[in-house]
């Protein structure tokens, strides 16, 4: 069992949990992820590592409650324990494994869409600790969905915010903001890392391609084991089929077949929707439905 030491709500549905997992904490590097199984009968869900502390033996995860399993995890509080927690999975980001001279040549822009700010934070933090300054764009639909802004400002050189509805800072999408930074403000980048929803990454890559900035993306397809065993997470990169769990999760954004990846993400949509509905009804109708008897 893995104890939840801290829980912090970042928005209504996005939360951060600090989990006691000394072995994972010691081995983790930026870009990697964990698999969490909340309860004995739960599913194995790949989740983002948002921070780790080898000395304290803790790993932080950021989750958005979108389906049954993540909604259930959100009901867990500090002091509760989750059933299974395994990692770190996937390869660390190339940035922390490349030679130092090569890294020093990089002018890096991170582009975070929504929850994508979470996997980006440990990368920016690691780079700062290694003397590399970089810029970060955090974008979301609206102001209260922007997460980790203060934390990010502590480790990034510049943090730029965009909201689709203009409720906070730049009015527009992350791609519009990136375009403005490069074309109007004269910013020069030679490496981009875009992490967020699949559709956001697809558009981010279209933009960076136009601007000539090589871009790395982090994919989050459906997974079961996370160790290369099932092949559910296979993605097409250029003309090769790769397993995101062991070959990724980061790939050259210019080569990713996003349309296929998005289609594959919908494979269990019906079952996921049904499970979510059942869970929500269980939560709201604790006394067995509304009383009309229609659920009997």
């Amino acid at each position: 069992m893995y104890k939840i030491l801290e829980k912090r709500m970042l928005t209504d549905t996005i939360f951060e949990m600090k989990i006691e997992a000394p072995r994972v904490a010691k081995a983790a590097l930026p870009g990697q992820f964990v698999i969490v199984k909340t309860t004995q009968k739960g599913e194995r869900v790949p989740l983002t590592i948002s921070d780790y502390d080898a000395e304290a033996g803790t790993v932080s995860i950021v989750t958005q409650a979108v389906g049954k399993s993540t909604m259930e995890l959100m009901t867990f509080e500090e002091g509760d324990s989750i059933c299974d927690f395994v990692g770190p999975l996937g390869c660390p980001t190339d940035l922390c494994t490349m030679p130092e001279e090569e890294l020093k040549q990089k002018n890096i822009i991170f582009i975070a869409g929504g929850v994508g700010a979470a996997p980006i934070y440990p990368q920016v933090k690691w780079l700062k600790a290694h003397g590399i300054d970089c810029d970060v764009i955090i974008g979301a639909r609206t102001k209260n969905l922007i997460i980790l802004e203060d934390q990010m400002r502590e480790v990034a050189k510049n943090v730029y915010i965009s909201t689709d509805d203009g409720s906070y800072a730049f009015n527009g999408r992350v791609t519009d903001l990136l375009k403005k930074l490069v074309e109007e403000d004269g910013k020069q980048y030679n490496h981009a890392v875009a992490i967020g929803p699949m559709i956001m990454m697809k558009f981010a890559v279209m933009m960076t391609k136009g601007l000539g900035i090589p871009t790395v993306v982090s994919l989050n397809p459906i997974m079961v084991d996370g160790t290369g065993m099932c092949g559910a997470c296979r993605v097409t990169i250029g003309d090769e089929v790769k397993f995101a769990c062991v070959d990724g999760p980061e790939f050259d954004g210019f080569k990713v077949n996003f349309d296929e990846a998005m289609r594959r993400q919908t494979m269990y949509r019906t079952q996921e929707g049904r499970a979510k509905l059942k869970f929500e009804e269980g939560q709201t109708h604790k006394n067995g439905g509304c009383g009309c008897g229609g659920d009997k």
């Binding site: 739960g42 599913e43 194995r44 999975l89 084991d225 559910a232 079952q271």
Partner: protein
């Protein structure tokens, strides 16, 4: 003497095929005491038993059968326990017809003794009667790490614990058992009743099992030696990487590996509504391949309510699966489309599988495996209807460990290089066995390798 022997084996009771095709309960019901004793009476108790030479872990078969004959079932269990830590598993999934039973001399004049069914009976009886088989020597203070809680790892760990070693098994998944847990279905190998209990018996020997630890990711082999104080390491990490065909359309929704399908159903229990993991299966399922895993996948799909086909490029008699499994599959209504090979997965406008383009095959000259190789019949293209395609083409070892362990060499198939008799690898103090070394094979061969490695590790650490 011999002409007094009943040439016909005591038949084993099975669930009715039409009934069992709709449930996940065990197909074979096993012998009761009377049936077991009757079958045991057929054994000649050979002075030079050939059956033992056919057993990868060399169980003293005539000896345990003699105990059964005398209704001393506890004695039989203790005899088997000297050689095997997983008898309830082996009695169910070993290919006895090519091993012990294949060598049985009674088999020359009639049915071979049903050694597997007798082993299963003894193991089940011993479990139901809570017989304590945890006999071990005093602690010797030496630590051995075992990677993977599958058949090879459990066997190696059990043998070393009996000799007094302090053994810890590191398992990547959340539940121990390896392929016994994620691969072989409930209807062939019950999880709670059999696998969990056998694992429990290994723990009773003092073996510790740490789940959720992936060696090569969470910890490295270097760390096991340098930081965790282990004196030797056994790698039994199996062959978990699924193969795909590389044909067009394979990325469609509805194409999955047998590993994924079986893991969802067996490990994650997707067939049970109480569990959260979903499994998506269509009305007509095509399982590509002809091994035991393909049979398991096809029979599982059938139980989930689908019309289920085995699509195999060679002929029926060349199926690599055990005859018993093929027989059971046929009884249950699996359709065998043999001498058929898919060339393309057809995909509808939503990206879902809607069929398979196939060609018919005929048998040509023998290939390097000695089997007549299948050759495409020109112009035989046709479309097979299917909305789910399960690829069961074999698996290869996972490179997570080998790629993170300096000094550990692998061959071109990514199998760890190890001596056959000892499991000794190219790195000092590191031993390996089972599918991680041989590529996908059987439970009992992995157990045999685990056993040999345990003996070699004992010798290495006793120097």
């Amino acid at each position: 003497m011999a002409n007094q022997i009943n040439k016909v084996k005591v038949p084993v009771r099975e669930q009715d095929p039409l009934l069992r095709a709709k449930n996940f309960d065990e197909v074979c019901l096993g012998y009761n005491e009377e049936e077991a004793v009757n079958e045991a009476t057929r054994c000649l108790g050979c002075k030079k038993p050939l059956c033992v030479t056919g057993c990868p872990v060399n169980i003293n078969i005539p000896e345990f059968i003699a105990h059964v004959k005398n209704k001393d079932f506890e004695g039989a269990a203790k005899e088997i326990a000297k050689f095997s830590s997983l008898p309830a598993v082996c009695g169910r999934v070993c290919p006895q017809e090519t091993q012990c039973e294949g060598k049985c001399v009674v088999g020359n004049m009639g049915d071979a003794i049903s050694i597997g069914k007798l082993e299963r009976f003894v193991a089940d009886w011993s479990r139901e009667n809570n017989i304590d088989l945890s006999d071990r020597l005093a602690d010797n203070g030496k630590k051995v790490a075992v990677i993977g809680a599958g058949p090879a790892g459990l066997t190696c760990a059990g043998d070393l614990a009996k000799k007094g070693y302090d053994v810890t098994i590191f398992e990547a998944l959340h539940s121990p058992g390896g392929v016994l847990e994620y691969g072989i279905p409930e209807f062939r190998l019950p999880k709670e009743k059999v696998v969990a209990k056998e694992v429990e018996n290994i723990k009773k020997l003092g073996v510790k099992i740490e789940t959720n630890v992936i060696i090569g990711k969470t910890l490295t082999i270097d760390q096991l030696f340098d930081e965790e104080g282990f004196n030797a390491v056994f790698i039994g990490s199996g062959a978990g990487l699924p193969k795909f065909m590389g044909i067009p359309g394979e990325q469609a929704n509805g194409v999955l590996s047998a590993n994924e399908f079986l893991t969802r159903v067996n490990l994650m229990k997707a067939y049970d509504d109480d569990y959260d993991t979903p499994v998506s299966i269509g009305k007509k399922v095509a399982v590509i391949g002809g091994g035991n895993v393909a049979m398991d996948a096809a029979r599982t799909a059938l139980r989930l309510g689908s019309e289920s086909h085995i699509v195999y490029r060679r002929a029926l008699e060349q199926l690599p699966a055990r005859q018993e499994e093929v027989h059971h599959a046929k009884e249950e209504g699996i359709v065998f489309d043999i001498l058929t090979n898919p060339t393309e997965i057809l995909v509808d406008e939503n990206g879902n599988v809607c069929g398979m383009k196939c060609v018919k095959m005929e048998l040509g000259e023998p290939d390097e495996s000695g089997r007549r190789s299948p050759v495409v019949i020109e112009g035989s293209d046709f479309v097979m209807e299917a909305d789910t395609v399960i690829m069961s083409l074999g698996t290869s070892p996972n490179p997570l460990i080998s790629s993170n362990t300096p000094g550990l060499e692998v061959n071109k198939r990514r199998c760890i290089i190890a001596e056959e008799e000892t499991g000794k690898t190219t790195r000092d103090g590191v031993y390996a066995g089972g599918d991680a070394v041989t590529g996908a094979a059987t439970v009992i061969l992995a157990m045999g390798a685990g056993k040999k490695a345990a003996a070699a590790i004992d010798e290495y650490l006793s120097k």
